[in-house]
Subunit: 137 residues, 2 copies
């Protein structure tokens, strides 16, 4: 098995948040709708995706500082540091963001989703269905 | 921004399913417990992870055929093909698996999880908390 793997993003967030690091202040509440634009070579992978279905979107937090392994949760520097595996920090060894979102419109070039706490231009590396008992509650 | 990103897995599934492709037949039901072994350089990222907390585990399906973009859901070749973004197929452009699991024991070298429909030796690329309204329902 190779020791590393290569990701070539399948898409980009369009719209979404405009201010760098603003995403950290948001959960879903208050976040804007966004367009999950799928690049032309990968649009066949959208086939059959339905309006109104829930999906998991995995983003690549390309500005994340990968050497950082602990952080102050909620930027509270009076509390203890936490390992990044238990936080949403974008600074982590494999900087991925994970969002469960509903597709409100399916187009041939991507998905309009109800809201997405992610920055405009963020690379998208995976789109998956929500499957009960696997990645759902 | 670079056109590709490199993943160096943070861990490996230990235990889990032993038979290649068996994971496709399972949802969580009937799957065995497994150990999410974190490699030594990344163990600091576990700091503060608590027993009994739910996490999302992202695996890299290293045997996935990345050129495939559609599949027959449930291997039913009488039905229509679906784009892989709406299936759990391991054959997809960025072959990742996503599992919501409960940690039943936290060790310094990893997490014992209740059950994991993933093959022994599968690379782990990310461990994240479940956060309501972000990646939860």
């Amino acid at each position: 098995m190779p020791r590393t793997f290569t990701l070539g993003p399948v898409g980009l967030v369009r719209g979404g948040l405009k201010v760098l690091r603003e995403a950290r202040c948001f959960y879903a509440e208050g976040a804007p709708p966004a367009f999950v634009e799928i690049k032309p070579p990968f649009r066949r992978s959208l086939r059959g995706t339905q309006f109104g279905s829930d999906g998991m979107i995995i983003t690549w937090l390309h500005r994340g500082r990968r050497h950082l392994q602990s952080t102050y949760p909620e930027d509270d520097k009076t509390g203890p540091r936490s390992g990044v595996f238990r936080t949403r920090s974008p600074n982590r060894p494999e900087p991925m963001g994970l969002h469960r979102r509903r597709g409100t419109e399916v187009r041939t070039d991507g998905l309009l989703v109800d809201l997405l706490a992610s920055n405009d231009g963020t690379p998208i590396v995976e789109v998956k269905p929500v499957v009960r008992e696997v990645n759902d509650a």
